[in-house]
C-alpha cells in the first residue's frame, strides 16, 4: 500500500526501461536528423556499420568504452554514497598531471616499475581532486554538485597554466608536454606487430582496456563484498540509519569521493599513457560528463556500466563515421543524442514507469 508508484519486475526495471529510454532518445534524435534534411534510417545504418562493421570500428568503440567505464564507475561509486559527482571531467584531467609527472621524471626506471607508479599517481591525483569537494561537503556542507563543477573549471585553468609553463618544451609551439617514453602503454596494434606479426588496423585501443575490466570487478567487489562498500551504500540509501549503525557519514562521503576521483583518474592512464603519450590540453574531451550518462543508464551497477559504456562508445565512433559520410550531420549530433539519453534516463526516468506498472499489473491479473 505504501508504494503507490508500483513495483516492476527487475528485468523491466534494469532492462526494459533503459532500452525504452534509449529508443525514445534515438527517435527524437532521428527527428532532428530529419529536420536537418537527412534520412534518419540511413544515418543510423552508417553509424552502426561504422562502429561495429569492422575491426577498426570495434577498436575505437572499445577505446571510447574504456574511458567511459572509468568515468561511469566514478560517478556510480559517488552515487551509491548519495553524492552526485559531476567533476569526473576535472578529476580525470587533473589526474593527467600525476601520470605525466611520474612518466616524465622517472623515465630512468624500467617499465614494470614506472607504469604501475604512473597509474598510481593518476589515481592519487584524481582522488585528490575529488577529495577536496568531498571534504568540503562533509565538513563544511558545501554542496558537492556546485563544488565539483567549480573544480572542473579550476582544474582546467590550472592545467592550462601548468602545461604551458611547466611541461611545454622550450621552443615548441603546441601546448603539450614532450613525449612520455618510459611509462608507455602499448596499443593492440603495436602488440600485434611486435609479438605476433599480425597487422591490425590503427586504433587507439591499448592495454588499459584490461585495467577497465579490473576496475569493474573492483567496484563490484568494493560495493557488495566489503564492509566499506556496505557503509557507502548505507550512507547513500539512508544517512539516518547509517548514523544509527555507528557509521560516520562525513568519513564515508570523503572516502567515497576519493575513490570516485581515483576511478575517474584512471581515464588519464588510457589517454596520457596509452594513446597520446604526452600531456596535452583538454585530453579528457568530455568523457567525464559522458560518465554521468553512462552511470545513469547503467543503473550505477558495474555490469550495466560496461554495457552503457559500450553503447556510448558505439555512438561516438558511429557518430564520427556519420559526420564523415554526411557532412550535414556534425559530430555534435552525438552530443544531442547523449543529451537526450541523459534527459530520458535521468530527468524523465519515471516518465514511463506508471504506464509500464499499469501494464504489468494488468498482465499479472
Amino acid at each position: 500500500m505504501a508504494n503507490a508508484r508500483g513495483e516492476l519486475p527487475t528485468w523491466v526495471d534494469i532492462g526494459l526501461i533503459p532500452l525504452l529510454n534509449l529508443f525514445i532518445a534515438l527517435l527524437v534524435a532521428g527527428l532532428v536528423v530529419l529536420i536537418i534534411g537527412e534520412n534518419p534510417l540511413e544515418a543510423m545504418w552508417i553509424m552502426l556499420k561504422g562502429a561495429v562493421g569492422s575491426i577498426k570500428g570495434w577498436g575505437y568503440v572499445l577505446y571510447y568504452a574504456t574511458n567511459f567505464i572509468f568515468t561511469g564507475l566514478a560517478v556510480s561509486v559517488a552515487f551509491h554514497a548519495g553524492l552526485f559527482n559531476i567533476g569526473g571531467e576535472g578529476q580525470a584531467y587533473f589526474a593527467g598531471l600525476g601520470a605525466a609527472i611520474v612518466g616524465l621524471s622517472l623515465e630512468f626506471l624500467p617499465w614494470p616499475i614506472v607504469i604501475p607508479l604512473a597509474i598510481l599517481a593518476s589515481i592519487l591525483f584524481g582522488a585528490f581532486w575529488a577529495w577536496i569537494p568531498g571534504y568540503l561537503q562533509a565538513k563544511r556542507g558545501s554542496h558537492i554538485v556546485i563544488t565539483t563543477i567549480m573544480f572542473n573549471f579550476i582544474g582546467a585553468s590550472l592545467m592550462v597554466y601548468l602545461i604551458n609553463n611547466w611541461f611545454r618544451p622550450v621552443g615548441k609551439m603546441a601546448v603539450e608536454s614532450r613525449e612520455i617514453t618510459g611509462a608507455y602503454i602499448l596499443s593492440f596494434r603495436e602488440i600485434g606487430l611486435q609479438f605476433f606479426g599480425v597487422r591490425l588496423p590503427s586504433t587507439p585501443l591499448n592495454l588499459t582496456v584490461f585495467l577497465a575490466v579490473i576496475a569493474v570487478v573492483f567496484v563490484w567487489y568494493l560495493l557488495w563484498r566489503t564492509k566499506l562498500g556496505y557503509e557507502i551504500r548505507a550512507v547513500g540509501a539512508n544517512p539516518e540509519a547509517a548514523i544509527y549503525a555507528g557509521i560516520k557519514p562525513d568519513r564515508i562521503i570523503i572516502i567515497a569521493m576519493a575513490i570516485s576521483g581515483g576511478l575517474a583518474g584512471l581515464m588519464a592512464v588510457n589517454e596520457v599513457l596509452g594513446v597520446q603519450h604526452r600531456l596535452l590540453l583538454e585530453f579528457a574531451g568530455g568523457a567525464g560528463f559522458v560518465g554521468i550518462a553512462v552511470a545513469l543508464m547503467g543503473r550505477s551497477h558495474p555490469v550495466g556500466i560496461v554495457f552503457a559504456a559500450m553503447l556510448f562508445g558505439l555512438l561516438y565512433q558511429g557518430g564520427a563515421e556519420l559526420s564523415f559520410a554526411k557532412p550535414l550531420i556534425s559530430r555534435d549530433m552525438i552530443v544531442v543524442i547523449q543529451g537526450l539519453v541523459i534527459l530520458f534516463m535521468g530527468a524523465l526516468e519515471y516518465a514511463f514507469r506508471p504506464t509500464l506498472a499499469a501494464i504489468f499489473a494488468n498482465v499479472e491479473d
Partner: protein, 520 residues
C-alpha cells in the same frame, strides 16, 4: 441497492439518506490489494468508526473517499447521489472534510490565515479573512472549538493545531468529517476534549468518520464501527452491541491476549544509570532536561509520555547517536555518554531498537539480510577484515528469520517489502541475537499488527526474565502499563514522576499532561 451490511442498521434514527455510501470499492497498488470490494454505508449524523490494523486498508479507503486516489472499481454516493471524486477539491465541494494524521497547516501563518487557505475566494484576502473571523466565532460557540484566530499556528500546542484542522474543514462547509488517527498526538485530556467536540458535531447533524486502531476510542464515542482486515471489510456493528473483545477478534481474525502474561520482576544490579542528563538543541532549548533514573538487570522500565516530550532525544543520547550537553550516562560502570558513538556503545553490550523503523532501524532499499546486520556489519563473524562475507550475512539472516518467524522468510527480499510487524521482527532479531545486557527500545509495536505485538511483547518479557535490563519508550500507555515493572513519565524533557505498573491510569495520564504533585 445491494448493500451486504444494510441489515445492521435497523434503528429508525438512521433511516434517512446515508451521508456517504461506498459501494464495491476496489483498489490495488501493484501486487498489494489494498481494498477488496469494500461496501460501507455511513449514516447521517452519526460517528462511524473504522478500525483495523496498520495496512488493513482503512487509510486507503478514506483517501479514495477524499479524492487522493482513484478506486479501480466501485462507486461512491454522497447523500444518495452518485459522486465522481477525482481530487480533494471535488471532495470538499461535496462537503467532505479531512483531518490528517500529520497536519496540513502552514506553521508561520495565523489560525485565521490557515482556515481560509484554499478558500480565499478572490484576489484580495481581506474580505475572506473578515468572513472567516465571523465564522470562527460562530463555530467556537457552537462546537466548543475555541482557538485564538490571531495566534501563530506553529506556536500552538498540538491539540489546538488539530482544532485548527477541524475548523478549516468546517469553514469549507464540511458536512462529513474524516479524522485519521486523531488521538495519536494527544494527551488523554486533549483526547477527551476532542471527543466532546466530535459529539457536539454529531448532535448538530454532522457526520464523523473516525479512523483509529484504538479500540477504547471506538467504544467510547462511535455509534457504528466497521472493522477492516487485509483490505476487506469484515463487519459493521453497532457499537452498543459489540465489545472490545469481539472487535479485537474481528480485527485479527482470532482471539488475542491483550494483557501480557508475566511474572514478578527480580531486579538485580544497576545496569544503566542516567545522572542529570541534559541535551539542548541548536536553539538552546533543553529537550532533555536534567533527567536521572536507573535501570536494573531483570526489569523493564517504561517511559511514558505524549510523543515529542524528549523521549526520542533520550533514546538518541543513550544509544550514542547524540552527545549529552551535560550529565552522565553510566552503563555497567562506564560513562558511555562521552563516547557519543553508537558503534562503541553497541560494543559495550547495549542494543537499540529505534523508534523509527523505516528511517533508522533498517534501510528499505537493502535486502533483509543486509538490513539484518545494520550496526553490526563490522563484526568479524561476518567476514574478516575489510571483507563482508555475503554467505555468512544471508545465513545469519535465514536463521534469525526462522527463530523470529519472519514472513516471508526470504533474506533476499527487499526490506521495504516486509510488513511493519515483520520488519520489526527483523530488527528485534538483529538486536537480541547479540545477547545485550541492556536493550533500549522505542515504540516497539508502532504500526505493527496484533499478532506481531504479542510476539514482540513476549520476547521483551523473556529478555527480562533472562536477567537483562530493558528500557522501553512508548506513546502507547497500555503497552507501557502491561510491560513495565516501573513507569517513568516524561513531559517537556523532564521526568514528571515514577509510578509502579499497577498505578492508576488517570494518574499517569495527568503526569503525561504535565500535571504533577511531585514534580521536581
Amino acid at each position: 441497492m445491494a448493500l451486504s451490511l444494510s441489515w445492521e442498521r435497523a434503528e429508525p434514527k438512521f433511516t434517512m439518506t446515508p451521508a456517504i455510501e461506498l459501494i464495491g470499492i476496489d483498489k490495488r497498488f501493484g501486487a498489494v490489494h489494498a481494498n477488496k470490494d469494500v461496501s460501507m454505508t455511513i449514516a447521517q449524523g452519526s460517528i462511524h468508526g473504522i478500525i483495523g490494523e496498520n495496512g488493513a486498508g482503512k487509510s486507503t479507503l478514506m483517501s479514495i473517499l477524499f479524492g487522493f486516489y482513484a478506486a479501480d472499481k466501485g462507486e461512491i454516493k454522497v447523500k444518495g447521489q452518485p459522486a465522481k471524486i477525482k481530487s480533494s477539491f471535488d471532495a470538499i465541494n461535496l462537503g467532505i472534510g479531512m483531518v490528517h494524521q500529520h497536519f496540513m497547516l502552514v506553521d508561520p501563518f495565523t489560525v485565521l490565515e490557515n482556515v481560509v487557505l484554499g478558500a480565499e475566494g478572490g484576489r484580495l484576502i481581506g474580505p475572506a479573512l473578515a468572513k472567516a473571523r465571523a465564522e470562527l466565532t460562530r463555530l467556537a460557540r457552537d462546537y466548543e472549538l475555541d482557538v485564538d484566530p490571531d495566534a501563530i499556528v506553529g506556536e500552538l500546542p498540538v491539540g489546538l493545531q488539530q482544532r485548527v484542522e477541524i475548523l478549516k474543514a468546517l469553514f469549507k462547509g464540511a458536512e462529513t468529517l474524516i479524522l485519521d488517527e486523531p488521538t495519536g498526538v494527544l494527551t488523554p485530556d486533549e483526547a477527551d476534549h476532542l471527543f466532546r467536540i466530535l459529539g457536539q458535531l454529531r448532535d448538530q447533524g454532522k457526520t464523523v468518520i473516525l479512523i483509529t486502531h484504538k479500540l477504547r476510542e471506538i467504544m467510547a464515542i462511535t455509534d457504528h464501527v466497521s472493522v477492516m482486515r487485509r483490505g476487506e471489510l469484515v463487519a459493521t456493528k453497532q457499537t452498543s452491541q459489540t465489545s472490545v473483545e469481539e472487535l479485537a477478534e474481528l480485527m485479527v481474525g482470532r482471539r488475542v491476549l491483550l494483557r501480557v502474561e508475566k511474572g514478578k520482576a527480580k531486579p538485580g544490579a544497576v545496569v544503566l544509570e542516567v545522572k542529570n542528563l541534559t541535551w539542548r538543541d541548536s536553539k538552546g532549548t533543553a529537550r532533555v532536561d536534567n533527567v536521572s533514573f536507573t535501570v536494573r538487570a531483570g526489569e523493564i522500565v517504561g517511559i511514558a509520555g505524549v510523543s515529542g516530550n524528549g523521549q526520542s532525544e533520550l533514546l538518541e543520547l543513550i544509544s550514542g547517536i547524540s552527545k549529552p550537553t551535560s550529565g552522565q550516562i553510566i552503563f555497567e560502570g562506564k560513562d558511555i555518554g562521552i563516547l557519543g558513538d553508537p558503534r562503541h556503545v553497541r560494543q559495550e553490550g547495549l542494543a537499540h531498537v529505534p523508534e523509527d523503523r523505516q528511517h533508522r532501524g533498517l534501510i528499505s532499499s537493502f535486502d533483509a539480510s543486509e538490513s539484518g546486520i545494520l550496526g553490526w556489519h563490522y563484526d568479524e563473524s561476518l567476514g574478516h577484515g575489510f571483507r563482508l562475507d555475503r554467505e555468512a550475512v544471508v545465513n545469519r539472516c535465514q536463521s534469525e528469520m526462522r527463530e523470529f518467524d519472519v514472513r516471508p522468510g526470504d533474506p533476499l527480499l527487499k526490506s521495504a517489502k516486509f510488513s511493519g510487524g515483520n520488519q520489526q521482527k527483523i530488527i528485534l532479531a538483529r538486536e537480541l541475537k547479540r545477547n545485550p545486557d541492556l536493550l533500549i527500545v522505542g515504540q516497539p509495536t508502532r504500526g505493527v499488527d496484533i499478532g506481531a505485538i504479542e510476539f514482540i511483547h513476549k520476547r521483551l518479557i523473556e529478555l527480562r526474565d533472562q536477567g537483562k535490563a530493558v528500557l522501553l519508550v512508548s506513546v502507547e500507555l497500555d503497552e507501557i502499563r502491561s510491560l513495565s515493572d516501573r513507569i517513568l513519565v516524561m513531559f517537556a524533557g523532564r521526568i514528571m514522576g515514577e509510578r509502579d505498573a499497577s498505578s492508576d491510569e488517570r494518574e499517569i495520564g495527568l503526569l503525561m499532561a504535565g500535571v504533577s504533585k511531585d514534580a521536581a
